[in-house]
């Protein structure tokens, strides 16, 4: 079951994506289309292929694409290295962001912004103002800048730092891989506000990967897709997330099974 029609206006278009790792096929034919300005959510159990999809779009070298295309504004991302994808406007908020002891947050952010938005964007008072405003939005103290990237960060600090990067890097496509996991309700609200600020009212798009509907109450998705065993088995509006929360994944599996038999 596909999740979207082929659309030349799509910001992200995934066609018939088959992919896996170490000879194990995980994604078994994904079709997905996201238009500029849209926020989509992918929900699914552990092991359904959600994080694999995120890593494939970003270009993680451990994963292998067997078949299909991943297009960003019509350009096939699969032809690009991860850093080229980042510079083309793909951003992945990691479920488990890497710690880099010794690399200071401030220098890392300047270098990242310079790489993706150009040297001028990372210089001067304008950048400092933009940085300060984003940190204030996310309730991140100034001394954060002198700490090392994700080194000794709490779970909430790591997630807020990912969203800080999202705001500063201004990607065309933001993929948020379980950014809500490990956050309390205030943390979810703060992160959701950051996502809304980065995406709503822009030509960017977001793909939110999550187990739960909690974050989707604060970042209202345009579409919700349900991923089971490497396939998108259902697509609907935000109400689908609520139904899943109430009825569980067994419900959607039963529904899909019944439709198949019929």
């Amino acid at each position: 079951m596909g999740s979207g029609e082929s659309d030349i206006e799509a910001l992200l278009e995934i066609r018939n994506l088959h992919a896996g790792i170490d000879d194990t096929q995980i994604l078994k034919g994904i079709d997905l289309s996201i238009a500029p300005g849209e926020i989509h959510a992918i929900m699914g159990r552990n092991g359904s292929g959600k994080t694999t999809a995120a890593n494939i779009i970003m270009g993680h070298p451990d994963f292998e694409v067997e078949e299909g295309d991943v297009l960003l504004s019509g350009e096939n991302l699969l032809d690009l290295e991860p850093w080229e994808r980042a510079r083309e406007g793909v951003f992945l908020s990691f479920q488990y962001p890497q710690a880099v002891p010794g690399l200071q947050v401030g220098n890392f952010l300047r270098k990242s912004v310079a790489s993706i938005r150009g040297e001028e964007a990372a210089k001067g008072a304008d950048f400092r103002r933009e940085l300060n405003e984003a940190m204030d939005t996310l309730d991140i103290p100034r001394n954060f800048l002198s700490r090392y990237v994700n080194d000794g960060f709490s779970g909430g600090e790591k997630k807020r730092f990912e969203i800080l990067q999202l705001q500063l890097l201004r990607p065309k496509l933001a993929i948020l891989d379980e950014t809500d996991s490990g956050l309390d309700i205030d943390g979810i609200k703060t992160v959701a506000a950051g996502v809304n600020a980065a995406i709503r009212g822009t030509e960017s798009a977001a793909l939110i990967i999550t187990h739960y509907s909690r974050i989707l109450e604060h970042v209202r998705p345009d579409k919700v897709h349900v991923l089971i065993d490497g396939r998108i088995v259902a697509t609907g509006g935000p109400e689908l997330a609520t139904e899943l929360e109430e009825n569980g994944y067994d419900w959607i599996e039963g529904r899909v099974g019944a439709e198949s038999v019929a």
Partner: protein
């Protein structure tokens, strides 16, 4: 017995010795003939402020060494040799009691373009507060430096030695006593010489001393950088940490050997040593051997460890996902690895200076 006779009375060490396992003495000796005590040139010394101007009153350098001690340790060969060849090249760096400087002071050592040697005695008065950067540069084929001295009681000293020699061999011996309640950070930044042999010894024989020994070592091409660090706890309530980070590229080799001795009676001693090696190529090699001798039962803790590994590919992917190209990611991760010890060597201004130095070596974005 004079120092020349004393040196000549010593046997050539063999590889069974902890100190000489990886770097034979004849490979370090300025002529290769270990029975010779050659005449060597003197380097040019300058004491300058961090901004390139004059240093504040209370710190000075003068010719001659009035007294020195080579600390007992694994063996005394290198120290004895350097004392034998530094007869005409002896200086004392004197820091008056209660000296304080807002900014670091640089001791610039221009080793010139021929083999040269220096004996520097450090006399740091009580209750002093100083950041001292000893910068070694030059294009000679050999440079030797013996540093002896005492850190006065209650002093707070950040003592960083930076080796920026173009090439050649560097032999460095430190033999430093740390006074009561003194706090010392002893940093080594090395990325220059083709071959380095360092034998760094510190003794805390009065209560309350605190010592952090930190290394940021960058080896490339066929460089061979061998550092031996001995820390002697000989008094109660003494504290030490050794953190040594070496990054090895090309077919270079780094060696880090540590000896941590806690003498009987050093109750409340707290000591540990850790060596981390980042291997950047298949042909690079790093050897680390930390050793402990603990003769006192009533200690807070004594531990050691070592870890070798390549660049973490997950870290590379994380940086690439933020727009770093592969070479930028690699350089940033090397700089970060070395920065974890570099950042502990002193104040923010000293750290910024050291990072600038490191980045010029790596041609990298800021760590």
């Amino acid at each position: 017995m004079d120092s020349v006779a004393e040196y000549l009375s010593l046997d050539e060490p063999d590889r069974s010795s902890h100190l000489w396992r990886y770097t034979p003495w004849r490979g370090i000796h300025p002529t290769g003939d270990v029975s010779r005590v050659p005449k060597l040139e003197s380097p040019v010394l300058g004491l300058i402020g961090f901004d390139g101007g004059a240093v504040p009153d209370g710190i000075s350098i003068e010719e001659g060494v009035h007294s020195d001690i080579i600390l007992p340790g694994t063996d005394a060969l290198t120290g004895t040799f350097l004392r034998a060849v530094t007869g005409n090249s002896q200086w004392t760096l004197r820091v008056e009691p209660e000296f304080s400087s807002e900014h670091p002071v640089i001791l610039d050592i221009d080793a010139g373009d021929s083999a040269s040697v220096l004996h520097l005695a450090l006399k740091v008065g009580r209750l002093s507060d100083l950041e001292l950067v000893t910068r070694i540069r030059g294009s000679g084929e050999w440079f030797g430096m013996l540093r002896t001295g005492d850190i006065g009681e209650g002093s707070s000293i950040n003592d960083v030695v930076v080796s920026l020699m173009d090439d050649g061999t560097l032999l460095r011996v430190d033999s430093i006593s740390i006074g009561r309640d003194a706090q010392v950070r002893a940093g080594t930044v090395s990325s220059g010489s083709e071959c380095t042999k360092a034998d760094l010894r510190y003794r805390m024989d009065e209560p309350g001393g605190s010592l952090r020994v930190l290394g940021s070592i960058l080896a490339a091409e066929s460089m061979h950088l061998d550092h031996h660090v001995e820390i002697h706890h000989e008094a109660p309530e003494t504290f030490s940490r050794l953190a040594w980070h070496s990054a090895c590229d090309g077919d270079s080799r780094t060696v880090g050997t540590g000896m941590l001795r806690v003498a009987d009676g050093s109750t409340g001693a707290d000591a540990s040593q850790v060596f981390h090696n980042l291997l950047l190529s298949a042909d690079a090699e790093a050897d680390s051997i930390p050793e402990l001798e603990v003769l006192e039962h009533e200690v807070v803790g004594c531990g050691h460890g070592t870890a070798n590994g390549p660049i973490d590919e997950d870290q590379v992917f994380y940086l690439e996902s933020r727009g770093f190209d592969p070479s930028e990611a690699r350089r940033a991760l090397i700089a970060a690895f070395l920065n974890t010890t570099l950042s502990e060597m002193g104040s923010d201004s000293l750290h910024d200076w050291l990072v600038g130095l490191l980045n010029s070596e790596l041609r990298t974005p800021d760590a």
